[in-house]
């Protein structure tokens, strides 16, 4: 193995490590996230991170085997967050949120 290939391998392994760290940080957001919409956004980013990790693996192995999986994730990864935003988050309010009730019609001062 020549020296530039070693540099390539180090760069790609670093990319995979960065992606895994980002996924771990994203899991804490999904765990804590005060409302359901935060979790929906985090699921979208999670699909993007999976695509990035599969891309790094494909670039490491020079193998287009995982490209259909990336394509399906890019095509259908948004359906989960759209479903949450459309049907679940309307009934879900974060606990202790100051705007849990709609304060928009209740005596706000207008300029």
């Amino acid at each position: 193995m020549s020296a530039p290939e070693t540099v390539d391998r180090v760069l790609l392994v670093a990319a995979v490590v960065v992606t895994v760290i980002a996924g771990a940080a994203l899991l804490t957001r999904i765990w804590r996230g005060p409302s359901m919409l935060d979790r929906a956004i985090a699921l979208d980013v999670c699909a993007a991170l999976i695509i990035a990790g599969l891309g790094a693996k494909s670039a490491f192995a020079r193998d287009p085997f995982y490209f259909p999986i990336m394509l399906v994730l890019a095509f259908l990864g948004f359906t989960g967050s759209v479903g949450i935003a459309r049907f679940i988050a309307v009934r879900d309010r974060p606990p202790g949120h100051p705007h849990g009730e709609r304060t928009r019609h209740g005596g706000e001062e207008k300029p």
Binding site: A14, A22, L49
Partner: protein
């Protein structure tokens, strides 16, 4: 292997690393920012910019026509579906009252929705 192909390979690996770093920046923004709208603003960065840079890096390392077409399709669908999801999440956040109306500078939607009722 010639020198130029090796340069392309190393540039592709560096682009993949840069894209992964941009994804990490977006996730740090999602951890730090306080609001649903600002979090969705931070979440768009890994979905659009980081993803396109990672795909460009992969395309520099796999240099056949079919793989380039598939990578272009992946980027195209990601750019198609990202704004749709972000728009629906922001719309739902506004309508369920998770937006702090005191922080907004302009709020055209408020007047339109108030006129409806």
């Amino acid at each position: 292997m010639s020198v130029w192909l090796q340069i392309l390979d190393t540039a592709g690996a560096a682009l993949v690393l840069i894209g992964a770093a941009i994804c990490l920046l977006g996730v740090i923004g999602m951890l730090k920012l306080p609001d649903v709208l600002s979090r969705s603003h931070a979440a768009t960065k890994p979905q659009a910019l980081g993803m396109l840079i990672v795909l460009a890096g992969v395309a520099l390392r796999l240099r056949s026509g079919m793989d380039l077409a598939t990578l272009a399709l992946i980027g195209f669908f990601q750019l198609m579906t990202g704004p749709v999801a972000a728009h629906l999440v922001a719309r739902s956040a506004y309508r369920t009252g998770q937006v702090d109306h005191g922080e907004l500078l302009f709020d055209d939607l408020d007047e339109q929705l108030t006129e409806e009722h």
